[in-house]
């Protein structure tokens, strides 16, 4: 009788452990993302996908309609081609546009769909004609710095702080951008986007 209770408890323990492994596999890991395989696949080519990753959500008006299933480099055009799987229940017009957006200031990147006006809907294998690449923070800061520098040299020595050597202030801003992406450990978005530079 005693050993029967022991066997029962051990069985329960093993069941618990296997349930925990199952949860870790199916709910916690990235395998959870590949479960919704129903749908049709369309592609979108971007000049720069920034930190977009396989499994990233695809939103239309804030509603999740699909996921990024694959990211490849097109050797002819040197563009990144993202395959997007959209659930069958969502029909989007053929001339919709796709852009890579960031949720929050430091959040993960996702694909936002802007609906077009066409009467025809997209079907399997179609391609987004209008795409907008990811905004890379360093490029943005670089543009900002060049425009600010040219502005300050035009107006002479009006700005006390801005009047310093342009390379020095550029370096300063580049560093602050870097430390931002380092401080943000978890979403690999920022880290990979700085790698891609």
């Amino acid at each position: 009788m005693q050993s029967r209770a022991v066997e029962l408890l051990v069985g329960l323990f093993v069941c618990l452990g296997i349930a925990a492994i199952f949860i870790l596999t199916m709910r916690v890991s990235d395998l959870a993302n590949t479960s919704d395989v129903q749908g049709y696949t369309v592609t979108a080519a971007f000049n720069d996908i920034g930190g977009l990753k396989v499994g990233a959500p695809v939103d239309l008006a804030g509603v999740r309609i699909g996921r990024v299933t694959d990211i490849k480099l097109d050797q002819q055009t040197y563009q990144a081609v993202a395959s997007i799987r959209i659930s069958d229940q969502y029909k989007i017009p053929k001339d919709s546009d796709a852009s890579i957006l960031t949720s929050g200031l430091l959040g993960d990147q996702y694909v936002g769909i802007g609906p077009g006006g066409s009467l025809k809907n997209m079907k399997n294998g179609d391609k987004f004609v209008i795409t907008q690449s990811a905004v890379v923070l360093e490029n943005l800061i670089g543009q900002f710095m060049t425009s600010m520098n040219s502005g300050s040299s035009d107006s002479g020595s009006s700005g006390g702080g801005g009047g310093g050597s342009s390379s020095g202030s550029n370096d300063l801003f580049g560093h602050s951008g870097d430390s931002h992406s380092n401080g943000n450990q978890s979403p690999a978005g920022a880290a990979t986007s700085s790698n891609a530079q």
């Binding site: 618990l16 890991s29 993960d108």
Partner: protein
């Protein structure tokens, strides 16, 4: 001159200990396949090292998850990155804290009990009695305990991780108390934890730790001086050596497994 001699003696003592424990491990491993004919022996040991460790592992997992969410939230909120809370909790738990804390608890809870049990068996001449009856104590006593530790540790670690990340631990503090968005919590986890790297890493690490702990425990117990002091020293040695070995092995495993990143 005498100092040199002493250092020589100590180091040969260490080397001898290492060699003896390795031979002991090999003898255990050689006896493992025969255990599949007698699963009942292993089941009883899984009960004593696994089921009885369940409570402490579950409670520790809940508290570790809660405190990680609490302190992680403070740090992340400064950057407005609360949505990364789930990711940070899950990565820390799955990669490092899960296997290591479960291993330390396992060494304290199950390893010490194993060493004391076997040491007392030896002190009361039970092991010698078995040998008299032509029963190999390594086959009958040691090997089932080793295999049970090897099976129980990955299961306990998985349970610890689920407790720390899930509804009672990090999720409870992060989502229910601090108000992080539930979808952001889970999405961050799912897009950043990779099965092939992070989840398999749990099993590899916890399997290695389970082997280390039970190896140290059964060796210390089996070779303890047959006195009450010897048994107590074997128990202490088990916890100290196994804990340090786990921490060292964790550093090496992390260096190997995550070297590409």
């Amino acid at each position: 001159m005498s100092r040199v001699l002493r250092i020589f003696n100590i180091s040969t003592g260490w080397l001898g200990e290492l060699g003896r424990s390795t031979l002991f491990l090999l003898r255990i491993l050689a006896n493992l396949p025969r255990l599949f004919l007698k699963p009942r022996l292993v089941v009883e040991q899984i009960y004593s090292v696994g089921v009885l460790s369940l409570l402490i592992v579950v409670v520790a997992g809940l508290f570790v998850g809660m405190v990680l969410a609490l302190s992680g939230y403070r740090a992340l909120a400064d950057f407005g990155a609360e949505n990364a809370l789930g990711t940070s909790v899950a990565l820390v738990v799955v990669r490092e804290l899960g296997p290591v804390i479960t291993g330390l608890l396992f060494a304290g809870r199950a390893g010490s009990a194993l060493a004391a049990e076997i040491g007392l068996m030896k002190a009361t001449d039970q092991l010698a009695g078995m040998e008299m009856m032509a029963v190999d104590p390594i086959k009958r006593i040691i090997a089932p305990r080793f295999l049970a530790g090897l099976i129980a540790m990955p299961l306990l670690t998985s349970i610890f991780c689920v407790m720390a990340i899930g509804a009672g631990g990090g999720y409870f503090i992060g989502v229910d108390v601090l108000g992080v968005d539930a979808a952001a919590y889970w999405n961050g986890i799912q897009s950043n934890i990779e099965f092939s790297r992070d989840i398999l890493n749990i099993f590899l690490k916890s399997g290695v730790f389970g082997a280390i702990i039970t190896w140290v425990a059964v060796y210390q117990g089996y070779h303890a001086p047959p006195t009450s002091e010897g048994v107590s020293r074997a128990t202490t040695n088990t916890v100290v050596i196994a804990s340090l070995a786990i921490l060292g092995a964790n550093l090496m495993l992390t260096a190997v497994l995550f070297s590409g990143h």
